[in-house]
């Protein structure tokens, strides 16, 4: 299983949705709240070149955008890592 990091901000529906998706598929992940944390923002930007949460980092792959956009890609990545 590759390492999974999820960058979130509080009260963000899309972030919650990604969290639930990962939990649901039994994928362990580290969550980082980037609001008011310039270091975490910088890290997120370095890894995904994005400043807007949620950003899902699965191994080398980074996904961003609204939940609907991320969902199929996250699932593909999770599935790929299981094979």
């Amino acid at each position: 299983m590759p390492e999974i990091t999820l960058y979130t901000v509080p009260n963000c529906a899309d972030c919650h949705a990604v969290k639930r998706l990962l939990t649901h598929h039994g994928a362990a992940f580290t969550e980082k709240n980037v609001r008011g944390d310039p270091e975490a923002v910088a890290e997120m930007q370095a890894k995904a070149n994005v400043r807007i949460a949620p950003v899902t980092l699965i191994g080398e792959q980074a996904f961003y955008g609204p939940f609907d956009d991320q969902r199929p890609r996250i699932l593909t990545a999770l599935q790929g890592s299981r094979e």
Binding site: A17, H24, A53
Partner: protein, 738 residues
């Protein structure tokens, strides 16, 4: 002549989540003169071409600040260029492959079925040989026992490796092997045979529940009419790609989740929502794969590939849900963890102590010890709970109640309070103008609608819809500006008009007493009032009301009947909230900010369980905070993902149904547990005292397993309060079985 435009690019501090981006985009959409709007996820920036004669830059910046974001201009304004970096929206990859639902095999073709048949045949042969050649009979029983024990022993070893040394499989394996060792192979063979039968029954029960759900998949047509140029071509529905256009003829089924491009028709969405009443849909509406198009011809843009459509996802979620354990199931596991070693220990004592210490006969006491092992086996208990949970989840899904897991199913029935979000949940989220007060009704409506014509806010839409309904011709509005939550102003026919909230209007001018009274009266009736001002002069008041859903009142009453408190959470003003809540007969907490909602949910949680019902998109944090989050939303992604349960047909009474279903399931489980344990206790005592023999105890346990499984299957017939959708299609591959 084209207006002077400037290209602006802002870094927007605080716009740091995907939903924030959408909020900003929606706000910009209400500004006249804003075009080519691009938000960048990479840079957290907003870029747009703004016609500053229509909307001033200051207005844009003020609006952003009102939403809680701080814009800082990155570039000196330049004339717009034609290129624009497109947002990455490529949707090509769709890796989420669902296993094709295996059509129901006959029970004897499954692994478990083969085991039952083989050990049954061996058992019967051995028994027959008992009359002809007794020594062969013993070998037959030994063979039947070993065959039946083999898979159990493998499972026992596997669970022992994970630290669970005393699983039910260990118990049965020990008992059967012990029986063979003391020369009672016949009993050992019968025990493993009946245990296998019990497991087979449980498998059949789960399979039956699942077959009902998978029948949904059969409702999606196999082929689709792909629109190509002027004509159409029939292609397999599986091969449809996102972005393609398909045609759906009257009477046909929609082949994929998508958006209607042209045409209007009644659609029967019952496969997805369980709702059998057709819904009228036209261009721009979304349709689900499997829905029946009852009349008009539709062209539909495919939004999701076959493997990812709503039905496929529901089936997948339900299958996963069935695998997740309810707290009661976990309780049974915990119980077994103490119970099973206890049984083993007592059996060992019974078998060893009398012969060792008191000179008992070895064979007699070993037999008694093994008898204890066999009687102690909690088969019925262990098998009944998953069967009931599976049946309960399936029964719900067929009625448009999607429950994601045993834990959710169990906790819904025990919540003390159900908290409802107001807009979009208790109300339909489609406000309508109810009253217009002023010297000339139509004039007030005409001018207010002109001011609001550029806005997509629900209240603005209510006003423009009302003007359209009265066949009014709207004059052009210029210099439209929005102050979110306060007012919209514009120049119409040379007058500076504004449509404002009463509180904002009061800061601009003094409202006459009679007008203030009217406004207060409207708000007490649960309506939202807005004031039309011409400069400082009030021209009239428009009352708008977001009507409660037709079944909201009934739902609240039903919940009260079930002994569940209800409370409405709203950000609306206290008077309006109070009026709607008292109309529905429930408590209300009004003027709440999102974080207030979270705090309230936490408070309610401390006072016993709380379920939160929301429309799923903006309520995700509150849904997550509650014990059970219930999303109101016909199959939207965020709703399906964030909530523990979703009401696929948008009916508030579904909440009461969920509570009812949960209680019915738990009741079923309790009856099963009591029955299984009670029977066990009776036979334990009577067998040890010698009134009944081991055979009867074994038969009793098997009988109990069959009865609790049958009892669990009764849940499949659970009706709820609403009518179930008639399932017209019988393509369901149901396993053939006794």
């Amino acid at each position: 002549m084209s207006a002077p435009r400037s290209r602006l690019e802002y870094f927007v501090d605080g716009m740091d989540c995907a939903s924030c981006v959408q909020k900003v985009e929606r706000m910009i959409a209400t500004l006249p003169g804003a075009e080519e709007v691009r938000t960048s996820f990479n840079k957290q920036t907003l870029r747009l071409d703004l016609d500053e004669t229509q909307t001033e830059r200051a207005t844009l910046e003020r609006n952003l600040q009102a939403l809680g974001y701080t814009p800082s201009l990155l570039n000196p304004p330049t004339a717009p260029m034609s290129e624009a970096a497109p947002k990455d929206h490529a949707h090509g990859e769709h890796g989420h492959v669902h296993e094709a639902p295996t059509p129901g095999q006959p029970w004897y073709a499954t692994g478990q079925g083969k085991l039952v048949v083989t050990s049954g045949v061996l058992l019967a042969l051995a028994w027959l040989f008992g009359f002809i050649e007794p020594q062969f009979a013993t070998w037959g029983f030994v063979a039947a026992t070993l065959l039946g024990v083999w898979p159990l022993a493998k499972k026992a070893v596997a669970s022992a490796r994970f630290g669970d040394y005393f699983s039910i499989n260990t118990l049965v394996s020990l008992a059967a092997v012990g029986a063979v060792l003391i020369g009672e192979a016949a009993e050992g063979a019968v025990v493993v045979f009946f245990f296998a039968v019990g497991e087979l029954l449980e498998g059949i029960a789960a399979g039956r529940a699942r077959a009902g759900i998978q029948a949904l998949a059969a409702l999606v047509p196999k082929t689709a009419l792909l629109v190509e140029g002027q004509g159409t071509r029939e292609v397999p529905a599986d091969s449809l790609a996102v972005g393609q256009t398909v045609q759906v003829n009257p009477g046909g089924r929609v082949p994929a989740d998508g958006t209607i491009l042209s045409g209007t028709s009644n659609l029967d969405d019952s496969p997805v929502t369980g709702e059998s009443v057709p819904v009228v849909k036209s261009a721009g509406n979304t349709v689900y794969a499997g829905s029946i198009n009852t009349d008009g011809v539709l062209t539909v843009r495919v939004d999701k590939a076959a493997s990812d459509n709503t039905i496929a996802r529901i089936i997948h979620l339900v299958e996963e849900a069935e695998g997740s354990k309810a707290p009661t199931a976990r309780f049974i596991d915990r119980f077994s963890r103490y119970y099973t070693p206890g049984v083993v220990a007592v059996s060992a004592l019974v078998a060893l102590v009398p012969p060792l210490l008191f000179g008992g006969v070895w064979h007699e006491w070993l037999y008694k010890g093994i008898a204890l092992l066999l009687i102690g086996c909690p088969c019925a208990l262990v098998l009944s709970v998953p069967a009931a949970i599976t049946s309960g989840i399936s029964a719900g899904t067929r009625r448009g109640l999607l429950i994601k897991g045993g834990a959710a199913l169990e906790s819904i029935g025990s919540v003390k309070t159900v908290a409802f979000d107001k807009t979009g949940t208790l109300t339909a989220g489609k406000p309508r103008v109810t009253d217009v007060v002023g010297q000339d009704r139509n004039e007030v409506l005409r001018l207010a609608a002109a001011v609001e014509s550029g806005s997509s806010h629900p209240l603005a839409k209510a006003i423009t819809d009302a003007a359209k309904g009265s066949h009014l011709t709207l004059p052009a509005a210029e210099n439209a500006q929005a102050l979110p939550g306060k007012a919209v102003t514009a120049t119409v026919e040379g007058r500076t008009l504004s449509v404002s909230s009463p509180r904002h209007a009061a800061t601009l001018t003094t409202l006459p007493a009679d007008l203030s009274a009217t406004i207060e009266a409207f708000e007490k009736q649960g309506r939202t009032a807005v004031v039309l001002l011409d400069g400082p002069t009030p021209l009239g008041v428009i009352a708008i009301r977001d009507e409660p859903r037709p079944d909201a009142r009934e739902a609240v009453a039903q919940l009260r009947g079930l002994g569940v408190q209800t409370v409405m959470l709203t950000g609306d003003n206290a008077r309006t909230g109070q009026a709607i809540a008292s109309d529905l007969g429930m408590d209300v907490r009004a003027e709440l900010l999102p974080e207030d909602k979270l705090r309230l949910i936490a408070d309610l949680k401390a006072k016993g369980g709380v379920a939160m019902v929301g429309d799923g998109i903006n309520d995700a944090p509150a849904l997550a905070q509650s014990d059970v989050g219930i999303a109101m939303g016909g199959g939207t992604d965020v709703a399906l993902e964030t909530a523990d349960a979703a009401l696929l047909r948008e009916r508030v009474t579904g909440v009461a149904d969920l509570v009812g279903l949960s209680r019915a399931t738990m009741q079923n489980i309790k009856v099963n547990i009591a029955f299984a344990l009670g029977l066990k206790a009776i036979f334990l005592v009577t067998t040890l005292l010698g009134y009944t023999n081991l055979w009867m105890a074994i038969l009793a346990d098997t009988g109990a397993t069959a009865i609790v499984t049958a009892n669990a299957l009764r849940l499949l017939r659970w009706k709820g309060s609403g009518p179930a959708a008639p399932r017209t299609v019988t393509a369901a591959p149901t396993p053939s079985r006794a």
